[in-house]
């Protein structure tokens, strides 16, 4: 019986006879509510939060100051120049959009596949998705140069009768990312309503009563509300699922539809999607491992969750490695000299350093996750996922820069060098990401309490008595 398990070691045992509990069996409904709500309810966050927030906010302010500088001076402040006109802004855009993939994968696809372990981490991952998409959306917006014309990205009827090129993947991108941002935000907020109601019911100060009250939309937790809520959540999940595959496929079209060797390959859509999920999970892990320790969520986000995510990282990392390999195979097998040159140039040309950072971080180190001991070692996990974050940024750098800097015409070859503004803007985007994330940790229910209660071990045993408590739990 799951309820007889008392120690963490037993809880993590892989005895196939027993159904593995998804959260620590020592938790009950009340302690879930207490653990999660307490994070948002403490009158003052811990000192470490202030320190982190100060750093993140300074970086964010620096980012916006640099954007101001960019607007005043023009795009010459970046290293983008002939022949590499897509420098850091596009690299950063693809990087952040990729990060944003884990949220919807966890919330929508794992939901439809009834992977109930997702409940402990989905809120977290969805929040991360939204913030990553915010960072991603920033870069194409400022990359247009004259940013007061950024609305030209959208097909707005205008007196010039001028439209974006509907045959261009750059326009499809606007729709793909726009849809993704909207649906992710809706999904995140919708899933949060019962938990916001819990916070509302427990709120002490007038301001938080009003704010949580407004945003919980008058949720009472009646059976009828739950019925409709669950139906709508399912529909939203079904709507969001294709987006996991479509967004990064369309982003990959930005490259694949061009004729440049190294970009013009049919493998790009699946390769990009696998890479996106890979980087997304790595980022979830990067945030989750410290946060669960810091906020005492070890019983809700258990070692099993960490291990499961590490398995996903291993699987998608191997897919990415396979894609790297197959690109070389096709370059040779196609017999196309330009194609062969590009890939040899990647591995042994002037950007070989970036290429080998990418390969070692994305393909070699994640292979360590074949070992259970490493999957369950938080420190090593942290090191590996950090390396994956680095590696996935370099993957986009390698794709964008190596192909552009050495194309068909040797006379136009060049070597892209980022400027200080490039590097500081990349750093600043991390600042923006962490600022939003720290605010999320401070004010919102960071774990989906209502959903976690639905998968508590009590539900699995035959001794179960009475229906599970509804959300808003503590009345």
């Amino acid at each position: 019986m799951s309820s007889e398990i008392t120690t963490t070691a037993e809880f993590l045992s892989d005895d196939p006879v027993k159904r593995a509990p998804l959260v620590d069996p020592r938790l009950d409904y009340h302690s879930v509510t207490e653990t999660v709500s307490a994070i948002a309810e403490r009158p003052k966050p811990p000192k470490a939060w202030y320190a982190a927030f100060a750093v993140a906010l300074s970086l964010t302010l620096m980012l916006f100051a640099l954007i101001g500088y960019l607007i005043v001076e023009g795009v010459g402040v970046w290293g983008n120049n002939n022949p590499a006109f897509w420098g850091f802004p596009i690299v950063n855009f693809v990087f952040w959009v990729g990060i944003g993939h884990a949220g919807t994968l966890i919330s929508a696809i794992l939901f439809l596949f009834r992977q109930k372990w997702r409940t402990s981490i989905n809120r977290f991952a969805e929040a991360m998705t939204i913030f990553a998409v915010v960072c991603a959306g920033l870069f194409p917006g400022i990359h247009v140069g004259r940013i007061w014309f950024a609305y030209w990205l959208f097909p707005v009827p205008n007196q010039m009768e001028m439209w974006p090129n509907f045959r261009s993947p750059l326009l499809w991108d606007v729709f793909a990312v726009g849809t993704y941002a909207t649906v992710s935000l809706l999904f995140w907020y919708f899933g949060m309503i019962p938990d916001l109601a819990t916070l509302r019911d427990r709120a002490r100060s007038r301001l938080s009563k009003i704010l949580y009250g407004v945003f919980s939309l008058g949720w009472t937790g009646s059976a009828r509300e739950w019925h409709r809520y669950e139906r709508s959540y399912l529909i939203l999940a079904a709507l969001a699922t294709p987006l996991v595959l479509s967004v990064h496929s369309v982003v990959s079209f930005d490259f694949a539809v061009a004729q440049l060797p190294g970009w013009h390959t049919t493998i790009f859509p699946p390769y990009f999607v696998a890479g996106a999920i890979f980087s997304g999970f790595a980022m979830v892990q990067t945030l989750m491992v410290p946060a669960r320790r810091f906020f005492g969520l070890e019983k809700i986000v258990t070692m099993r969750h960490i291990e499961n995510m590490n398995k996903v990282i291993l699987a998608t990392g191997s897919m990415v490695g396979y894609a790297y390999g197959i690109e070389f195979f096709i370059a040779w097998y196609s017999g196309n000299p330009n194609e062969s040159f590009v890939f040899l140039n990647r591995a042994f040309g002037p950007y070989a350093w970036a290429y080998w950072i990418m390969v070692s971080c994305n393909v070699i180190f994640p292979q360590l996750f074949w070992f259970k001991k490493i999957r369950r070692n938080l420190l090593i996990t942290m090191v590996i996922v950090m390396l994956v974050n680095v590696g996935m940024w370099f993957e986009r750098f390698v794709i964008v820069v190596t192909s552009l800097s050495r194309d068909f015409v040797p006379a136009s070859w060049g070597y892209f060098k980022p400027t200080a503004v490039d590097l500081l803007m990349l750093l600043g985007s991390f600042g923006l990401f962490f600022t939003l994330f720290l605010l999320f940790l401070r004010f919102l229910p960071i774990v989906a309490m209502a959903e976690v209660k639905g998968v508590m071990p009590h539900d699995h045993g035959p001794k179960e008595k009475g229906a599970p408590e509804s959300a808003g739990g503590e009345r």
Binding site: Q159, M160, I210, T220
Partner: protein, 216 residues
């Protein structure tokens, strides 16, 4: 239940919020479609001129050809504003004492140009050539309206990019015989579509629509 901090009337806010959001959408749409359109902003521009010169009298009643004053229109990009000398050709004898013409006489004496206010003013980033249009069967009236009926010159067309493209994409609807270009009152004797098609072929009209046609 938790303490109710929202009084009952707040339920009604929902309706207002919904209506407000829908209303805001419509407002923005209307604002951009109509309010910010050159049709609204530019059409009807009729600035006061330093001399109360009436095209209705000169071009309409007296029937002076456009090109008598705007001499360069068939040869150059700009349709020249005539020098004061052109006015004085007639007005040395006709109404030489009229107080309305005081500024014209002064200009003739001092050589200082009359500060006419430009009505049809295209942005500086647009290249436009009058000669290319009036020598290929586009009438003055197509862009400037019935100037021969205007006491004060008024902009009748939006002169927006979409408006230019409207003709460049479909010149048949506006072509006329070359000898009717300055005829303000001309009406086609046959259906314009047929005439336009024939003239387009005859004159070899292939209006370009690429960016660099106008933005050079």
């Amino acid at each position: 239940m938790a303490e109710q901090i929202f009084p009952k009337w707040t339920n009604r806010l929902r309706t207002f919020l919904g209506l407000g959001a829908a209303g805001a959408g419509v407002f923005v749409l209307v604002l951009f479609a109509y309010g910010a359109s050159p049709k609204t902003l530019n059409v009807g521009y009729a600035p006061d001129q330093p001399v109360p010169y009436s095209h209705a009298i000169h071009a309409g009643k007296l029937g002076i050809d456009c090109r008598y004053c705007h001499t360069t229109v068939e040869k150059a990009a700009a349709a020249a504003i005539p020098p004061t000398r052109t006015c004085m050709n007639c007005h040395e004898r006709i109404r030489p004492e009229s107080p309305k013409l005081a500024l014209v006489r002064e200009s003739a004496r001092t050589g200082e140009a009359i500060p006419w206010v430009k009505v049809h003013d295209l942005p500086d980033y647009v290249f436009f050539d009058h000669s290319a249009h009036v020598t290929r069967g586009i009438g003055c009236v197509s862009c400037h309206g019935r100037v021969d009926r205007m006491d004060v010159v008024t902009q009748t067309q939006p002169l927006s990019m979409g408006w230019c493209l409207n003709c460049h994409r479909n010149p048949e609807a506006f072509l006329r015989p070359k000898d009717k270009v300055t005829d303000m009152a001309w009406k086609p004797a046959e259906p314009q579509a047929e005439l336009g098609r024939r003239l387009r072929e005859e004159y070899g009209i292939r209006p370009p629509t690429s960016c660099s046609t106008c933005h050079r």
